[in-house]
């Protein structure tokens, strides 16, 4: 292709020279327009969204299949949800057990990890001096440790180590809760700390200046300002726990400690499974989405309302980035 556009190749014969004609391009006109919509990028985005969501949507649809098949559509029904008196997820004890245990673990994880994480975050933000920098970074290690590594390590520690308190922990619900709290704590710390940074030290100082003791300043000023971050953390911990498979699986003992993801894993490939399995998966997906959505809303609505303008958006970004 010639790059000289401006210089005409021969002297024009006409009195009025023709303006230089734009080169023909293989790229269609609507893509060449630099002011136009970025259609190509939009197309890629939508393709990806469809690619990622369609399988999930199909799985959800088949939970409403009238027949026993999980791949051939036989009409709409709610039998696998509650219609069937023995095989629907709310009647078959295998399903109800997994559901109940998942919710139980998530609830415990939430009420244990959140307060602990808040205290850790506040503590870390005040700790100046030797070791504070190191412990700050170490707090993030559980976030990046491969889950399988953490699960196997915990398993070894709980089953092989003859050292208190590890030898007092037995596989089953206790070990599952401890395992889940161990990794979800970091998420709480990160969320609460980002909020602490955006709040800054002034409000507490103002409270102290107005005669509040340290404890009163924490309770009356810092805690209300942290509320959105705490609520968001709770919901994210809940979602993490409901979703978790690896740690929960390794820490489990018998059938009574089976959770939804564990049940899905062990039955998804079997030919005997009914669309009730899809219903179970649907519950998992929707609970997680709901928890995240509520967390996001709480954080943005309350967070925005109570923090004037400072850092609300960036903290929100941080929060959404966490779950991405």
């Amino acid at each position: 292709m010639s790059t000289s556009v401006a210089t005409p190749e021969a002297a024009p014969r006409d009195a009025a020279p023709e303006p230089a004609r734009p080169r023909r391009s293989l790229v269609p006109k609507f893509l060449r327009n630099p002011w136009g919509q970025p259609r190509f990028l939009v197309a890629i985005t939508w393709t990806y969204v469809a690619w990622a969501l369609v399988p999930v949507v199909i799985a959800i649809l088949f939970s409403f299949n009238a027949g026993k098949s999980r791949s051939v559509w036989q009409g709409f029904s709610t039998r696998w949800w509650w219609g069937d008196p023995s095989q629907s997820i709310f009647h078959d004890p295998q399903y109800t057990q997994a559901l109940a245990h998942s919710l139980f673990l998530a609830g415990l994880d939430m009420v244990i990890a959140t307060p602990l994480g808040v205290l850790l975050a506040v503590g870390l933000s005040r700790w100046r001096g030797r070791g504070s920098g190191v412990s700050n970074s170490l707090m993030l290690v559980p976030l990046v440790t491969p889950e399988i590594v953490m699960a196997v390590s915990l398993l070894v520690v709980f089953t092989q180590l003859a050292l208190f308190p590890f030898n007092a922990i037995h596989l089953g619900t206790t070990a599952q809760v401890i395992g889940q709290v161990t990794f979800s704590l970091s998420y709480v710390v990160v969320i609460v700390r980002s909020r602490l940074v955006s709040i800054g030290p002034e409000y507490e100082e103002a409270a102290r200046d107005l005669g509040a003791t340290s404890w009163a300043a924490f309770r009356l000023v810092l805690l209300p300002l942290l509320a959105p971050a705490i609520l968001a953390s709770m919901l994210i911990v809940f979602a993490l726990s409901i979703d978790d498979f690896v740690v929960t699986q390794y820490m489990s003992s018998d059938a009574s400690t089976t959770t939804i993801p564990m049940y899905l894993y062990s039955n998804a490939r079997g030919g005997t499974s009914t669309p009730a399995l899809n219903a179970l998966a649907t519950i998992l997906v929707s609970t997680t989405l709901l928890a995240i959505a509520v967390g996001y809303l709480v954080y943005s609505v309350i967070g925005h309302r109570t923090s004037a303008s400072r850092g609300g958006v960036s903290a929100l970004r941080e929060l959404s980035g966490m779950e991405a």
Binding site: E205, R208, D209, L210, G211, A212, R305, T306, A308
Partner: protein, 381 residues
């Protein structure tokens, strides 16, 4: 309700850096006292030590004669208006103002009465139910004032309370704040880096630099009779020049040699001899026609003219090589001083101030003419 503060050898050291270096100051009851200086000069650290947020490394803070240096902030009868006000965003205006009273376990009816009274004082009577975010910057600042004043502090500390506001509101609030202070009669300790703010509101100003107090005095004293080169330079454009002082037996004035020219100076350290710095405020410098034969005149040439509205700043390059700025009131003849115009710079002998090179000379208030209005105090330092 007394409220005098004595700082005695107050020092704060952070590892290697000395933030506040053994300062002494005595702030009188009911005084509007400013700590003025550039950022990093230690003024905010000093304020935070008085408030109790920063623990002094050594020294004493006497509040009505009692050393409070080691008393935690919530037990000091000293309250602060923060730079960003730090109004609690989860509480409405009423609860914000009532916060301190409730910590003191004041009876409910009394809380209501005093909150309303202090909101009335700052003219925010109808705003009690609003959230801080629903108020303008100026209103938020007044809530912060009410929140601190409702506790009837002995001393009110203000950490650049006007810094977050835009210029027009700032000027208006300056007047309001001063009027409020006179009304309540509480000692105000005001931290600012804005010389105009400090000069226009304070009873006395402490000019700080590098953790030390350079000079304490009334606004007129620190502006008209700067004790050190730093004070002269920080408070407006100071037209600092190197000179050689030749003392006279009369000791009422002094002859200074600036280059080949000899001028008579009557202000500052008139007993000095040898190399000194001399300053003259731009608004005291006069520009006369070229060739004027008069004492205390220096020939020069207009180098640049800056129109600032109420006045015209004329930069003159003197024959000695030094640059001098003259601030000429804008009377409609601004274009008399075009670039390149030869002029004669007249510095009245009582406007030419000698600063000892040590910078330690503290001159008596040289009985200057009326203190200049802050607006004519030239462009910001």
């Amino acid at each position: 309700m007394p409220g005098d503060v004595q700082l005695r050898a107050l020092t704060k050291r952070y590892d290697e850096t000395l933030a506040v270096d053994a300062i002494d100051a005595s702030i009188n009851d009911g005084e509007f006292f400013s700590l003025l200086g550039p950022s990093g000069c230690g003024k905010t650290t000093t304020l935070r030590m008085i408030a109790g947020f920063v623990r002094p490394t050594s020294g004493e803070i006497l509040l009505d004669g009692v050393d409070v240096a080691q008393v935690p902030p919530h037990n000091r009868n000293v309250h602060t208006v923060f730079q960003n006000y730090a109004l609690f965003p989860h509480l409405n205006v009423f609860d914000n103002v009532a916060f301190g009273l409730r910590r003191k376990k004041v009876a409910k009816a009394e809380v209501r009465r005093r909150v309303e009274e202090s909101l009335e004082l700052v003219e925010l009577g109808g705003m009690a139910a609003r959230r801080p975010q629903q108020l303008s910057g100026g209103q938020q600042q007044r809530v912060a004032l009410a929140r601190a004043l409702v506790l009837r502090p002995a001393v009110l500390l203000l950490d650049e309370p006007l810094g977050a506001l835009d210029a027009k509101i700032r000027k208006q609030l300056r007047l309001e704040l001063k009027a409020l202070q006179e009304e309540v009669g509480i000692t105000f300790v005001f931290v600012t880096h804005d010389q105009e703010e400090a000069l226009s509101m304070s009873d006395r100003v402490a000019v700080m630099s590098n953790g030390r107090i350079e000079q304490i005095g009334t606004p007129a004293e620190v502006y008209e009779s700067p004790a050190t080169v730093f004070v002269a330079d920080f408070l407006g454009v100071s037209n600092l020049m190197d000179a050689e002082a030749i003392p006279e037996p009369a000791r009422e004035h002094c002859t200074v040699a600036i280059g080949d020219f000899r001028l008579r100076a009557r202000a500052g350290d008139v007993t000095a001899s040898g190399p000194v710095k001399v300053v003259a405020r731009p608004e005291r410098v006069e520009l006369l026609g070229h060739g004027t034969e008069r004492a205390n005149c220096l020939p020069g040439m207009v180098e640049r003219t800056v129109y600032v509205g109420s006045s015209v700043q004329v930069m003159v390059r003197l024959a000695t090589g030094a640059q001098l700025q003259a601030s000429i009131a804008n009377t409609g003849h601004a274009d008399d001083y075009e670039q390149g115009t030869p002029v004669c710079v007249y510095i009245p002998e009582d406007a030419l101030r000698i600063l000892g090179d040590s910078g330690a000379a503290l001159a008596p208030a040289g009985a200057p003419d009326a203190a200049p209005a802050p607006e004519t105090a030239t462009a910001s330092a």
